[in-house]
Structures are given as structure tokens and as C-alpha cells.
Amino acid sequence: MTAHTKSSGTSWVGRSIRRLEDPALVTGQGRFTADLPANHWVRFVRSSVAAGKLESITAPAGAGIITAADITALKPIRPMLSKFNYVPVGQPILARDVVRFTGEPIAAVYAASKDEAEDLAEQVEVAIAETAALVDGSLALLEGAPLVHAEAPGNVIVEGRIRTPDFDDVWRSAHKVFRVNTRSRRQNAMPMEARAGHAIYEAATGRVTLTCTTQMPHLMRTAICDIVGLRESDLRVVAPDVGGGFGQKMSLAPEYVLLVWLARRLRSSVAWTEDRRENLIASFHSRDQHVELEGAFNADGKLIAVSANVIANVGAYSCFPTTCGVEPLMALAELPGPYDFRAYSCVSRGVLTHTCPMAPYRGVSRPVITLAMERLMDKAACGFEIEPTEIRRRNLIDKFPYTSATGLVFDEGTYKQTMEMAIDAIDVPAFRKQQKVARANGRYLGIGFATFSERTGYGSPAFAARGMEITPGWESVFLTVDPSGFVEARIGASPHGQGLRTTLAQIIADEIGIDPQFITVVHGDTDRSPYGWGTFASRSLVISGGASLLAAQKIRAKLIKMASHMLEASPDDITLKSGSAHVTGTDRSVSIVAMARAAYHQTHIFKGEIEPGLTEVGSYDPSGTFSNACHVALVEVDIATGQVDVQKFLVAEDAGLIINPMIADGQVHGGVAQGIGNALLEEIIYDETGNILTSTLADFLPPTTHEIPEIELHHIATLTGNSITKAKGLGEGGAIGAPAAVIGAINDALSAFGVSIDEMPATPQRIRAALRSSGKMA
């Protein structure tokens, strides 16, 4: 089916209607995991050292405490990848003989209140014989480095290599070569709500309900049942209102497993709320990467070949279900970005260290590889003495479908057009004049561009290509019209701020011809919603949206058939509009309420031609689609202090048909803000012994209103054939392009000093250090 939503009079798609989610949230009636009471409160005793042998755990007599010795029946978390030399490693639910990162859970204590649990945790004495800690990803590869897991020689847990057949010949023909050495420092997604879990055992049925801050409730259910040895029908997982995820909450945390086990053991309710310190230390980190690349250009400034080496420091264990391969392998596959070149050589490795495990964070590797490629473009622009936008103009893809050197198929997009749109909106020549005047007055303004693609809405074939044992991708939606004419859509995606209850209702409303306020989208509860893959990777609107559309089309068809019976008219003469079916050109109509009643209570009138009830299922598993954008940052660098002020930010984006413009824009705003934080402020810092120095919000610095300027948005819509709703995903785009745009602007501002800022965050200290070593400071 390729036709998108059939207009039925009023069109809800494309309108910025208020979100159906909001009334509860603005009145304080949201239900978050930490709001639930429990009989027992759990606090985890965590390793205070990065590496060592666990010798003893001593707790006060009579204390409620669980250690690895109590849970020998629980299997470790062990995600699998069948390609890329992946070495499977297991993460124990509680550390057994060794600890591998500061913050690793060693024991769980429980008490009647959180305060008492914390008091008790303090009294637990843990003896660890420290061993040499490995913290830096590059050091992990050196001969003689400590081994994090015996199974992974050289600490390499995954390695992907690619080299196109003609690479050497093409490289030799290069006119100019430019090098980039990019360092992305460790990030923490830092959702406003830290992780939390609540497990309650129901004696009457023997079932456990786990309420937790997850982005993937069904997969949590399957995985925890595998580990604990439960039937899936005996575990219900509920993702209630979740306070942001950004990827940090999509992976299985050992803490959730422990809670389920403990609830069964105590035959009661147990809960854990992670505090912010725990979240910064022990909740999944990301983007600790080193990308070195060289780009070969011909005499016309055309990029002809790229050679790259990627090292991703993935921490001490592998995240479930994606495995830690997700960062290095996405870098391998997507580094070429939106540029047209055929010769590509890349080695990308995931490297183990004694640090907190990595999990995907908004954009995953793309913010880093986009930075690397955009630095390449900017350096090449300097080398060829042309504007950064001109070199991009010569290299951005513009004929579709385009198959990249790594075999990715790009559907129709507007890479060049969005850049031109951004250039016009900014008035680059006027800025250059302003920049010159400012420089003469000792002020350093800069402009930076980032053009990139965002792979979104891809289904199982794409995930299968990575060799994941668990291959996500498809989504289904169960759509029911009840006897009172209200519609319920039960979905497998798991939104946590993305507004899916509104946007999916808009899609369904257009198809069935009713108002979105009569449509309830149910998600997050594995007892109520169909198996699905949750919400991550900019997929939910595309895939659950597509499944919603398919289900709604089936409901539509059935309603029209019912109406043709009830109105004695041909189905071709029936339209659905404003809650009723109408015979075109007459005033004969029947309401959807009446039809719904008939479907349940008067089925005989349809003479066996209609199945009773009004439920249809839609399933969608698309190949994927690429959205694109151009980001522009205008900055001022204070060379005396190294401080960077982002004065303006502009995005020209194309994400296909926008279902709800206000919600779509909100996704871009949020991504850009995290990208600016990534570029200037946010960093998880370990010392050389593996202790975290940034364990409070006084040290880890997300941006506030002062650090985020007004973000100006411009839109184009390419109606792709790769998504039946014509919508492309865009949840991650803001985070993917913004860092490169900001870093590019800093480099532009400081071009007179001959420095190259290739590290993020570009802190004031780092910028001053670069300026000092340039030798050009007054």
C-alpha cells in the first residue's frame, strides 16, 4: 500500500493539535515508577573500585541482603551478535568473583524505607583486592594491558572491517589528502528521571508485575524471563510515564532482574529508585570514541576516498539487546554520511575497559562520525580555498535511490536543498562582513555548518544485517472500536515524551473520520499491548504509525462495508467523516457508534458477510528511510577565557510528511540542545584509577536556558515511498548535527590562530590550551 492517509473531510494529520498526554502531566497526575509505594526498598551496594577481586561481603546480622551467592540460578546478561568477530561476554546480575567497573552492583540490601536501606547499605563492608584498572580505550589495545574479560584477547570485543575493492587505486589518484583526528568524550544521556524499578508478586496467580523506566517493555519481559527462568505469561512489565530515555533506558539493567527475583523470593513488593549519583556513575554511558580519518579529494574538490579508524570504548560489559557493537558498527556502516564517494576503508573496534558499560544515546555514533566528516569537509574547504558550503555542494548526494559504499540505500532526500535553504536564511555573505568587522575589534565570531543524514524507521532486515541474535524492527497495532464508538489502539512502541498518543491518533482519525479525542493509544503494558520493540532509533512514528495506518485502513474498509449494508448503498458511494458514514450526494448517514453497536450486538444483520466485533491488526516492517537536515551554528569565542557562546542556531530539515508540526519541532529542539551540551559542556570524566570525577550535577553540566539560543527551524517535506504514512523519523537528528555545527563554528571563529578543535566537549580549558600552543596569542 503506498497511498498515504485518505482525506475524509477534516484532516488531522499536519495539524499542531495539543497533545492528549498533557492534561495529566501538567496537573501532576503523571504516574512515574518512583511514585509507587512498596513494602521493601532496595539499595544497591556498588563497587568503589574499577577492577579487583571480590574477597568478602560483610553485613550486619539480620540484615536483608542479597549477594551473588544467593542468586546462582540467575543467568548473566549475555547479548549475542553473530558477525564482526564479536566475543560474547556475560554480565552477572550481582558481581561474583571480580568487579569490572566503579559502580558495578555487588549486593542488594532491602529495608522498610529508602532512608533505612541507605543506612543499611552504608554498613555493608566489601573487601576488594584491587587490580590494575584500564580506563582509556587506546591504552586497552596496548600489549600487556589488563584484560577486562579473559575471553576477549587484546580487549577487542567486536571488530568490523571494510575495504572497497578499488580502494588502493582510487587513493593513489588523490590530488589532496586531509586528516582528521576526532575525540568524542564520554556522555551520559542524563534523563531528568533516573532509573527506577518496582516489582510486586501477586500470590493469587504467582505472577510478578515489574514497573520500570524502560523504553522496551516487551523485550525486558522476554529477557528477564530467560534469566530468571519464568514463563513470559508470569511476568508483566509496565513502562508507565517515563521521564525521558534517549536510549539510556532501552537496555536491560541487572537491577531490574534482581527486583523481579527478590519480589518472588519475598512474595511481596520491592522497589528501587536510582539516585542521580548512581545514574551518573553506573547508568549506561556512551560515545567515548576516537575517530581518525583521512579523506582523499580530486582536483575539483570532489571527495573520492575515505580511510578511517574507529575505537569505541564500550566499557566493561555489553548492553542488551543491541550489544556494545552498536556504536562501532554503526560508525563503520554510516561514516560516509550523505557524501558521494565509492572508495572506503574502515576498521572499527569496540574495546573493553573497566568503565561503566555503553548503551545507545540519541544518535548513537552519528554525532561523532558527523563531527569527523564535517571537520574533513571544513579542512578540505580551507585547503581548496572555497566556502565550507561550496565543498559540500560538490559532494552531497542528489540522485536517488543512492547506494552508499557500505550498501545503505538512501531514498529520496534534500541534502543540497536544505543546505541552500539554511544558507539563504542565515545570509552568509552578510555574516562574513560582520565577522571581519568583529575581528578587527578583537571579537571572534564563527559560523559552522553540518549536513548529515538520519537513518530512521528501519525494520528487521536492517537489524538482521548487523547479525544481532534478537532482530527488532517490525511493529504491530491492534485497533479496536468498542460498542460505544470509542477507538483503542494498542501498540508495541513505548513512547516517553514523543507524543505518540497524539500523532498516532491523528493518523487513525484521518482514516476513520473521527476526532482524535475519541482515540486512546495504549502502550507500555505487556498485558495490554501487543509484542513490540519499544521506542528508540527514531522509529516509532514511522513504524507504529505505518502499522496504525494499515490497521485503520482495515477498520475503514469494514466500516464502509457495514455502512453499505445498513444504508443499502454501494461501498463506492460511502465516505467516513465527522464520526459517521455518509452516502455521497444524499443526507443518508449512520454514525460510527451505531455501526459499532451493530458489529457487537446485531451481527446477524450483516448476513454472515462481516465477522463480529471491530478489531483489526496492522503490521509494518519497512526497509527504512533517511531524513536529512542542515544545521548552522553562529558562535562567539572569548579568546581570553575560551568560553563559547552559541548566539544563534538554525535547522533546515526534511523529515517527510510532518504529522504534528509542534511535536516534530519539539524533537528537533531537544536534540539540538543535547547536541550543544555535547559540543561544549557534557563529559563524564574518569581519573586514571577508574573513579568518576563527575558524579554530581555540579560537575556534569547539561545546558540551561542560558546556553541554548533561539533555534530557528525551516522545513521541506519529501514524501518518501519508503514509509506508508510518508513520514520519516526525526527524533535523533537534532543531536546528530548540532555538535558538528558548533565545533565547526568554533574553528571558523578561530581560523586566524591556525588551531584545529577536534574534541568534544570543546571546553574553555581545551580551547585556551589550543590557543596558547598556537603561539599566535597576543
Binding site: 499542531s16 495539543r18 497533545r19 498526554e21 498533557d22 492534561p23 502531566l25 501538567v26 496537573t27 501532576g28 497526575q29 503523571g30 512515574f32 518512583a34 511514585d35 509505594p37 529508602k114 532512608d115 533505612e116 543506612d119 544521556a189 542524563m190 534523563p191 531528568m192 528521571e193 533516573a194 510515564d241 517515563v242 521521564g243 525521558g244 534517549f246 529508585t273 539516585d275 542521580r276 516517553h496 515524551g497 514523543q498 507524543g499 509542534m662 511535536i663 519541532d665 519539539g666 528537533v668 529542539h669 531537544g670 536534540g671 539540538v672 540542545a673 543535547q674 554530581t696 550535577l697 555540579a698 547539561p702 540551561t704 536556558t705 542560558h706 541554548i708 533561539e710 533555534i711 537534532g734
Partner: protein, 159 residues
């Protein structure tokens, strides 16, 4: 664990008679003993502002006060903003302008903005944005929070 004492917290005009230890923070007492879970905990060390409530008309970080310290003072939380079915202009503005996504930081922002605007109705736009830098949000990039607060400020000044 130290002894508990009986105190009364007046929240949104209603008295709650509770027993708490000295160390019980105001935010924990509001959420648990008083059952008002709309106020959220984001950091427990006074930086993120998710726990912002009004105490005697002042926006404060309820994670940095002890419950016993708030006895005898009028406390207002997000649950008290609407009057029956009638939402507060600030709540309406957040909905109209998409000033929330996951909703976790929202109660803190609502109370901060309402509190400051009630105390300083003529606050300048620049100072209003400065006040909003008190609280953290990870979803919205602040664009629509600022729009919402500006819009509500205008409406609050008119009435």
C-alpha cells in the same frame, strides 16, 4: 533512625497530619506521607529544580528543606494550580505551546514560573529567562518552555 515527631503540613490549602524523622526532606514528605506525587525528584542535591514548590509564596527546592521546617507555612504544589476543572493559565500555556514532552521536569517549571510571576508580575523578559535557567529540562531544549511562560505571564498580568 531518630525519633519521629508529629507535624502538620498545609499543602494546597489542606492540612496533612504526618509523623516524620528530622531528616525527612520536604519533597519526600510531600510525595509519600502526604501522597502528592506530582512533585518530582531529579537529583536530591539542589541543582535540577524538578522538586520546586512554593513555600510561603517563595519558589524553593523542596529537596533542600526538611519537612519539619515547613510546618506552619503555606505550601503549594502542582496539584494545587488548577481550580477544579479550570486550569491555571501557566498550565494552559504549557499545553498550548508544547512546553513539555516527558513531563518529568514540568511541575518544577510550573511552580517556579508561577511563583516568580506572582512575586514579580512586571519582571523583565531577560530576567524571566534568567529565572528559568534555575531548572533543567532534557527534552524540550527550553524553546517552548520560554514561549509558554511568556504567554502565561502576559495573561497573568492582564488579570
Amino acid at each position: 533512625m531518630s525519633e519521629k515527631s508529629d507535624i502538620t503540613l498545609n499543602i494546597n490549602g489542606r492540612d496533612h497530619h504526618i509523623r516524620v524523622e528530622s531528616r525527612r526532606t520536604l519533597v519526600d514528605a510531600i510525595r509519600e506521607e502526604c501522597g502528592q506525587s506530582g512533585t518530582h525528584i531529579g537529583c536530591e542535591h539542589g541543582v535540577c529544580g524538578a522538586c520546586t514548590v512554593l513555600v510561603a509564596g517563595e519558589p524553593v527546592r523542596s529537596c533542600l528543606m526538611f519537612a519539619q521546617q515547613a510546618e506552619g507555612k503555606a505550601i503549594r504544589t502542582v496539584e494545587g494550580l488548577a481550580q477544579g476543572d479550570e486550569m491555571h493559565p501557566m498550565q494552559r500555556a504549557f499545553m498550548d505551546h508544547h512546553g513539555l514532552q516527558c513531563g518529568f521536569c514540568t511541575p518544577g517549571f510550573l511552580m517556579l514560573a508561577v511563583g516568580v510571576l506572582e512575586r514579580e508580575p512586571e519582571i523583565s523578559d531577560e530576567n524571566l529567562i534568567d529565572v528559568l535557567s534555575s531548572n533543567l529540562c532534557r527534552c524540550t531544549g527550553y524553546q517552548n518552555i520560554i514561549k509558554a511562560v511568556r504567554s502565561a505571564a502576559a495573561e497573568m498580568r492582564r488579570s
